[in-house]
Symmetry: C2
Subunit: 243 residues, 2 copies
């Protein structure tokens, strides 16, 4: 259950995409891949599962509903995945890499203003485009991360440690105010994901959410300027001169 060791971050998560997959037929093993039908159904299932799990949580989701949304019988779904938990794990793996990817693009050689602004923008755009992924992830972690705790402790920790060092270097170089890097990262995660996870509340209070282009831009600007100003970077970039 869960990958504890890993080579270059990311690559081992792909392994999860196969984990829990029941079908490994002669042909597919021979070819080292999945048949056309397998590929299609696997995607249909994961897509449906993402919706169901993110809407209802693991316990609230039913295999029956996932199967229905994927357009097949429950039995057939269970032909592809050994159990509900297997579907769940595969769904997590399905979204985890793309969900955590943006952080990897933080470029040590770049300027903190550009880099962090880009990171925040990416995160908000992800919240807008994949709110289900955000909610699934939030759900999993809130329940105590029963499935992905090992990944958080190994791969994610490694990644965060690395990026914290990048931020510290920026601080040492006098390019931004002295802040605790890990709290900065948490703040970025919290604010950006909040708009996806709590979209119902956002809608109740503002009348719209990130699905609206106008509100998306507005949120992007507000969050970015608040955080960048918070770490002592002039924002919006009025002139090229910062510090």
């Amino acid at each position: 259950m869960g990958v504890r060791e890993g080579g270059p971050a990311g690559s081992e998560w792909a392994v999860h995409l196969m984990a829990g997959l029941r079908v490994r037929t002669q042909d597919s093993v021979k070819a080292g891949g999945l048949s056309r039908i397998q590929e299609k159904n696997r995607t249909l299932i994961l897509e449906a599962a993402l919706g169901e799990f993110s809407r209802k949580g693991f316990s609230g989701a039913t295999v029956e509903r996932i199967a229905a949304e994927a357009g097949m019988s429950k039995s057939n779904l269970l032909y592809y995945f050994a159990s509900k938990e297997a579907i769940y794990n595969a769904t997590l793996a399905y979204i985890l890499e793309v969900w955590l990817a943006p952080l990897k693009t933080l470029n040590p050689a770049g300027e903190p203003a550009q880099e962090l602004a880009a990171y925040i923008r990416q995160k908000i755009e992800m919240s807008a485009q994949f709110p289900e992924a955000s909610r699934l992830f939030a759900n999993e972690v809130m329940q105590g991360a029963p499935q992905i705790l090992p990944i958080l402790q190994s791969d994610l920790k490694r990644l965060v440690d690395e990026k914290c060092r990048v931020i510290e270097d920026w601080i040492s170089a006098g390019k931004m105010r002295r802040v605790d890097p890990v709290h900065l990262i948490f703040t970025i995660w919290a604010t950006t994901q909040h708009y996806a996870d709590f979209s119902v509340q956002i809608r109740a209070l503002t009348g719209t959410d990130l699905g609206d282009e106008e509100f998306l831009r507005q949120t992007e600007f507000s969050v970015t300027s608040l955080i960048l100003n918070g770490i002592g970077i002039v924002w919006p970039q009025e002139s090229g001169q910062s510090r």
Copy 2:
């Protein structure tokens, strides 16, 4: 289901504390309250339910476990609350007021630096002391707020609108940078609640969480300084002179 109208904010939520309560005996009705035993058991149940619902979510929670944790039989629990949903609603009501209370203390007559710092501190302290309440609330909203949507749309919206006006007045008075008040509030909610809701992830990445006094202070400082600097308030308060 759910109170749509309300007098002075807060008072009407108390009504929920009775909602779903099955027992309304002759004596208690006469006295307008609950008997000693009722009072005790009701509290035991709600306390147990808070733990169970926050840990497992609504669907994952079982009445049996709540009853066990409350030290009584399932039948007896169902003597006090008509259904699982009734327990859930009562639990939400049980925490909702205290959870949302801090925002009410934002004093229009005060200085934004003091007022917002105090608000952020309160919210973080709440996350530290009542992480279960935070998670229960987060869970409910993430599932689409099936139970409390009306409250969000009426009472909470009224409160947020009012406080947004306060912040706008501060901006007009030149006491803080021009920011969208509602996004500022969302940012404060997101960051502070994140430490409770994602504590498992926090622990995986930092080794501690808000349960640790040292980390609590550190978080308080980081979040407060980031946000206050973000809205153009000098922080930490080096001299009495701001602006």
